[in-house]
Symmetry: none
Amino acid sequence: MTASTANLPPPTFAEGLPGGRPSRQRLSPPLRMAQILDAALAVFHEKGFAASRIDDIALRAGLSKGGVYAHFDSKEEIFEALIDRSLTMPAGLDEAALAPGQMVTVDLLVERVIDPVYRLLARPETAMTLRLVVADGRQVQALVERWQRAVLDPFASAVERLVRRAVRQGSLGKGALTASPWLLMAPIAQVVLWQLMHGQGEGAPVTLEQQRRSHIALLREALAP
Amino acid sequence: MTASTANLPPPTFAEGLPGGRPSRQRLSPPLRMAQILDAALAVFHEKGFAASRIDDIALRAGLSKGGVYAHFDSKEEIFEALIDRSLTMPAGLDEAALAPGQMVTVDLLVERVIDPVYRLLARPETAMTLRLVVADGRQVQALVERWQRAVLDPFASAVERLVRRAVRQGSLGKGALTASPWLLMAPIAQVVLWQLMHGQGEGAPVTLEQQRRSHIALLREALAP
Amino acid sequence: MTASTANLPPPTFAEGLPGGRPSRQRLSPPLRMAQILDAALAVFHEKGFAASRIDDIALRAGLSKGGVYAHFDSKEEIFEALIDRSLTMPAGLDEAALAPGQMVTVDLLVERVIDPVYRLLARPETAMTLRLVVADGRQVQALVERWQRAVLDPFASAVERLVRRAVRQGSLGKGALTASPWLLMAPIAQVVLWQLMHGQGEGAPVTLEQQRRSHIALLREALAP
Amino acid sequence: MTASTANLPPPTFAEGLPGGRPSRQRLSPPLRMAQILDAALAVFHEKGFAASRIDDIALRAGLSKGGVYAHFDSKEEIFEALIDRSLTMPAGLDEAALAPGQMVTVDLLVERVIDPVYRLLARPETAMTLRLVVADGRQVQALVERWQRAVLDPFASAVERLVRRAVRQGSLGKGALTASPWLLMAPIAQVVLWQLMHGQGEGAPVTLEQQRRSHIALLREALAP
DNA sequence: CATGAATGAGCTTTCATTCAT
DNA sequence: CATGAATGAAAGCTCATTCAT
């Protein structure tokens, strides 16, 4: 797991006030970079890349503008580092998908593919990163494509391979879903889209959990042998 | 339909040439505004709201910066007008959803709901607007919500009503899809997501048409009585 | 001659004061550019390229920082335009040096070569530009070389040709100066060097006029047939 | 002579390799300061005072930014120390000028005045310092004047005294050069100017040695009794 | 002494907006 | 209405300087 900000000591009272002695905390670069990236994710997510000011990121990360530039050469580099960090993040997926020689049932599919993705979507970090990629990816298209190739594509083909094997094994019935395995994930696209437009869980007409249950119900129905 | 640029007089010879000075004609305000909105949509879509310059929009609309300000008071006002315009745009949908008293079959659903949406998605304008709303909606949240209430929600409940009626009529079987009618549209979310990340049809692994067929196949299977 | 600032109306009293209505004078681009270049020359000369702020140039040119950027894309572009402008300036020299078929005497040399150069050196603009080229030329080496090739080199060889012809004609005696014609201009290098270090005429131990007379005296002596 | 870098212990093996971390040795202050000044001279010469970064100087001197500040309080102080160091530097000159009671001939003039200066000009350090003084002297005018008073003026009057004595002795003829003794050095100004604009010896049309010979030839001719 | 993270003032550049023409 | 020079408020970035380690 990446270095994170979670268990840092909270800033003292004085530091929080304007004019309070800035304390000039010297952190190790990896720690600082993690802090900055955390801050950047939040700010980018809130305002979008172009409208985000380095000052905002710096403030949120607890240092000064110049301090940010001691660790990243430009705003764009921060963006790239952010995407890069999320590149390795959903590590659980592809290894999990590379299932052993056992029987591939709907249950297995749910446990190894569907559930992990919903768990991922429940994390604020994931939603934020997705929003970043979609909203501002155009400006840094190369990165988005790298992300796609490194994360999305492998995941998609892993799912496809799983399904084909299951059909061969007879544990899943032939039908529209097994003919076009990518449709299996469609309800997840709905969730993502919703999150993109509204942020996480704010007054969604359908809970993430409800959506997950409906999704699984659909799968059981449509994939029954 | 709103005033559009479609049936404008063709550009004069000079304008057609690269480097040819654009119009400087005094057009009727509605026409000019339509031109400007068209240009703004394209530019916003390409660079995002914050990174778009009024100059770009003006250039693309064939007039100068000052000219734009003769019609809109601010950049944000252009954005709002853009969303407003798209509020009435997807004309095909609501009429379709207001189905008659007749029997609701899968075929009807496809013809009145699914197909119109795919037709909409095939239009560049739709993709652009969607991208705008998702990428830059946060800044003008109120507008996005208005759009949601005016377009998405009515459409969603229309579909829901259709499905419930069909189930009552026995023309659709009970199942996961009829229990959670919004799942009906899930594959469309997939298409939209893809378009958001890559623009229209550039090297998509699956054609819009393929996706539509798979989608319909799934519906026939899962909705069969 | 280039557009210059010389006969512009002086700024009104109010404009000179802070807070005075900025008047938003709209000048034609060539006029403004000349103003800006004049200002830039003064400022660069005073502080050097790197230490000069666009604000200074703008203030001196009578507009705002942003206004400068409406005419030049960057500070460096101003520098280049400045050198370019002085590139054509000493036009009188090389044509003059291309003397007719007549006898080349010391008097002619003085009248056609030495005097024009001293007249040039008496102009503040020349001194400033020279200082710029020497002090900050390293950063924009290509420009300096262009200047050298376009101005200095042609002048030097013109002088050389003149002297050789004179020696052939017998109107100048053979000696160290005619063997190495570039030495003819050496005292001028002294003047330039002095100006580089002190600016024009501020407490120079020797007047420009004195230096000129001594220079000519030396030439008469050393070039006598 | 001031402490210099010349006879430092050779760098350790690792330092000699590209990427090898530099010293981090604790050197004696005078040595360190000499290193830093050497580095500063090179950097200032290359980029000018304003465009030079302390980081560059530190890197070149083999320590870190903070290390530089352990020895100098500010960038300007480095500059001043640099000029100060060059104040005593041209040792050859003043002693030479303090000629004995003997006969002052052209040969003596050459040997005691002209040649030492050309030897000085052949040293990279001299060229660099001159460039510094000319290019950035304006910012630290006081220093330049000090340099002038301490080095140039004494040298100039020494030369003048020499010449006057020689004329009185009859060993030099009366003429333009003895009337205006400063003209004696004019060709040297040419060399300096050239070095200022191009750096040392890069593709100069005339060698330093050639220039020296021509210079001396001219002197013999013009100073002959 | 040396290091290098951090500060903060200052600079270049951009751009929405205004307005004289 | 249209133009485009001009304004002015940011915003990105740099770098001399400080100081905890």
